[in-house]
């Protein structure tokens, strides 16, 4: 439908394929809802506790995206937090930033995830710094109840890319493993919903 609202024209569009979001992983991390974060190097797990720093960390135009004051702090001043990156059209994407270690992984375990048919996500890197396509790659593995659901490999130059995995036997605990494949860390960030 359309209606005029002062100088504006309001168009209301319906989505014929609407699927309700049953669980938003980004909001869960932002709200500190039943999520644990570990650093995994050579099988050695170290927790990444929530910390409140005096200031956020920002990089300006050519530097890293913002790491908020409050974030999960992993060894080596790496962070896991909800932040914003820009996609290939320089639009803001709210997502879970994960600074994976070289030669290792970051594991995020979400509990209390309701059952659903699938997990739908988007993943990418801060496009401005990654668009030259050199050296930024990450592998995201999704699992629940010990079963791998699928993998998605993100490359910076590809921008913000959608992926989906089915949940044949949903359980309430979903584990996400972010493994860095390249030397350059980059600003890897992803969003995920249970639908």
């Amino acid at each position: 439908s359309q209606q005029a609202q002062g100088p504006f024209r309001l168009r209301v569009l319906g989505n014929p394929g609407f699927e309700a979001t049953r669980f938003d992983f980004v909001s869960a991390l932002a709200n500190e809802q039943a999520v644990k974060v570990w650093n995994d190097v050579a099988g050695e797990l170290q927790p990444c506790p929530l910390v409140d720093e005096v200031r956020a960390r920002t990089g300006g135009l050519h530097g890293p995206v913002a790491r908020p004051r409050r974030h999960h702090a992993c060894p080596g001043e790496r962070a896991v937090a909800v932040t914003l990156i820009e996609d290939q059209d320089y639009r803001a994407r709210r997502c879970m930033l994960v600074d994976a270690p070289r030669g290792g992984s970051i594991v995020l375990e979400f509990q209390g995830v309701p059952s659903s048919r699938k997990l739908r996500g988007f993943a990418g890197f801060s496009y401005f710094n990654g668009r030259d396509g050199v050296g930024q790659q990450v592998e995201l593995t999704l699992a629940e109840a010990g079963r791998e659901l699928g993998q998605h490999r993100a490359e910076a130059a590809r921008g913000w890319v959608r992926f989906e995995v089915a949940r044949p036997e949903p359980s309430s605990t979903v584990t996400l493993r972010v493994r860095r494949l390249a030397d350059e860390p980059g600003d890897f960030c992803f969003a995920l919903e249970a639908r």
């Binding site: 920002t58 990089g59 913002a66 908020p68 914003l84 320089y90 668009r131």
Partner: protein
């Protein structure tokens, strides 16, 4: 009697040219205070200060100043660009600062003076060939191009190089017409100054080559076929430019005095392998080749008044129709060659586009000279069709009022201003044309920053160079207790100058400041151009009611 008439005519034209020069310069000085400082101006202020110190040392201790190590220490600053303008900025600041209310004007003054010279010379050239009114229309059409008026204020090189291209072209044209040795020498010297201004000068010989081919090419070919001394057709000014040009460049640029060959190579390499900065065009951000070939043409159409372009097309068309017999064949061919060569690099998809329209400003005086010729033909047509309306002053007023209004309305947002052809600034923003760059629009947020920042507050400057921010403070446009920073996380106020690729900066501000809503927005014709955020836990000043968003 004829000589007396010519003398009186020349003096009248000189007086009009002087009036145009003085009037335009006065207008630039009067409007400079509302125009902020570009990123590049900050770099050139810094360079000028360094060169100024060297000049002082040269005066007090020439032996020391001229030693290689000392020369290099000062002239290494910003050595990727030649010295002439920065040296003039330094000298102007040293000797003329006391004449200006704001220090920045003393740096900007030489570029303003050169820009005004371009207006005056455009008049003289147009008047010489096609009459006084044609010259006035040409000069004022140039003066009141919004982007020309904008660049004319700046302590940069873009309008000065257009001026010196025009000066060298004029001297060259006169040397061809008269053959006088003085003009031949002056052409060489002028070319040296052009070389020492900006690397657009490298294209100038191609314009002369094209001009020669079009005006002498056939005759030269005949000479070659018949064994006649073809070399006598070569303009003497070419030898003058070849000899004197590099000498002047070398003499006036101390950075080249040592390790000359390597430094020249580095200079050329810097510009031929320049990094591609980002530029939005039709909704897409370009940052590497292939770059859009339509860029130069569409940006010209969307930023130059249509009436000027139509007049120029009429003038160029009228000239081409009578090319072989036209009374001003050589000069008009030179104008056309300068326009074509000025735009030619953008036939390649590898040519950078990040500087917007300033890349081809050298073509604009010649576009306006053709506009002057077009004006003459329009008046002639009106005399035949509508004799009662065929009053040159009336017609001139009609063709100039639009550009003048557009230019004055656009100030100081000329980089955001577009013509009605694309819907003005709002239409251009919708089309995805560049909204702003260079970080100068901090000026429009200055009242808000002064009011909203805490005492000794830190201001994240975003695209404003630190040296430019310092000039804001030195001029008294921003509080001197404020501290500029490049770190959002430690800032109290964060500025944002919008370009799509810059959005990641704003995202960092949102994340760190915890808000999506700016506290002040600078707009032009309703289009947001730059805005500012204030951190909620800033100091006592924030408790006062903030002023409304600054007017454009």
């Amino acid at each position: 009697m004829k000589r007396l008439r010519l003398l009186l005519r020349d003096r009248a034209d000189a007086a009009i040219a002087l009036g145009l020069f003085a009037g335009y310069l006065a207008l630039l000085l009067a409007t400079a205070g509302s125009l902020g400082f570009m990123r590049d101006e900050g770099f050139y202020f810094t360079a000028a200060r360094a060169y100024g110190k060297w000049f002082e040392l040269l005066w007090s201790s020439p032996g020391e100043a001229l030693s290689p190590a000392v020369t290099d220490r000062y002239w290494t600053v910003n050595h990727e660009h030649p010295s002439l303008l920065k040296g003039l900025f330094a000298l102007s600041n040293r000797f003329l600062a006391g004449f200006f209310a704001q220090p920045s004007s003393s740096f900007r003054f030489p570029a303003m003076a050169l820009s005004s010279l371009a207006v005056a010379l455009t008049y003289l050239w147009g008047a010489r060939l096609f009459g006084r009114m044609a010259g006035l229309v040409a000069a004022l059409s140039f003066a009141f191009m919004p982007r020309v008026f904008f660049h004319a204020h700046l302590a940069c090189f873009d309008l000065p190089v257009a001026t010196l291209w025009l000066v060298t072209s004029y001297a060259y044209s006169r040397s061809l017409a008269s053959g006088r040795a003085l003009l031949v020498v002056l052409t060489g010297l002028a070319y040296g100054l052009l070389l020492d201004t900006k690397h657009n000068a490298w294209l100038f010989p191609f314009a002369l080559g094209l001009h020669f081919a079009l005006t002498q090419g056939w005759a030269l070919a005949n000479d070659l076929r018949s064994g006649r001394p073809w070399w006598r057709r070569l303009p003497p000014a070419w030898a003058s430019m070849l000899l004197l040009g590099p000498l002047v460049l070398y003499a006036l640029w101390p950075w080249l005095w040592h390790d000359t060959a390597q430094r020249l190579r580095d200079y050329v390499r810097f510009h031929t392998q320049h990094e591609y900065y980002n530029m939005e065009f039709l909704g897409r951000t370009y940052w590497q080749p292939p770059l859009p070939r339509a860029y130069a043409w569409l940006m010209t159409l969307s930023t130059v008044s249509l009436v000027t372009l139509v007049l120029a097309a009429i003038g160029a068309g009228a000239f081409l129709r009578r090319f072989s017999q036209h009374q001003a064949r050589s000069d008009c061919t030179l104008w056309g060659a300068s326009i074509l060569i000025g735009y030619a690099p953008w036939l390649s998809p590898s040519t950078p586009i990040f500087g917007g329209t300033k890349h081809w400003l050298t073509a604009y005086p010649f576009v306006c000279l053709f506009a002057g010729l077009g004006f003459v033909h329009v008046c002639q047509a009106l005399r035949e069709l509508l004799p009662r309306l065929a009053r040159p002053a009336l017609v001139a007023g009609c063709v100039l009022v639009g550009p003048a209004v557009m230019t004055l309305h656009a100030h100081p947002f000329a980089l955001s201003a577009y013509t009605p052809l694309v819907g003005g600034a709002p239409g251009a923003a919708s089309l995805g044309l560049n909204r702003t760059f260079w970080g100068y629009t901090t000026q429009s947020l200055a009242p808000f920053i002064d009011h909203g920042a805490p005492t000794r507050g830190r201001v994240y400057v975003h695209d404003t160079a630190l040296a430019s921010f310092a000039m804001f403070q030195e001029d008294g446009r921003l509080r001197r207790d404020l501290r500029a920073t490049l770190d959002i996380a430690t800032s109290d106020v964060a500025l944002y100058h919008h370009e799509p690729h810059m959005s990641r900066v704003e995202h960092q501000i949102w994340t760190d400041y915890g808000t999506l809503g700016p506290s002040a927005i600078a707009t032009f014709d309703g289009v947001p151009v730059a805005w500012a955020y204030v951190r909620r836990q800033a100091g006592a000043r924030q408790e006062r009611a903030l002023p409304a968003a600054p007017a454009p």
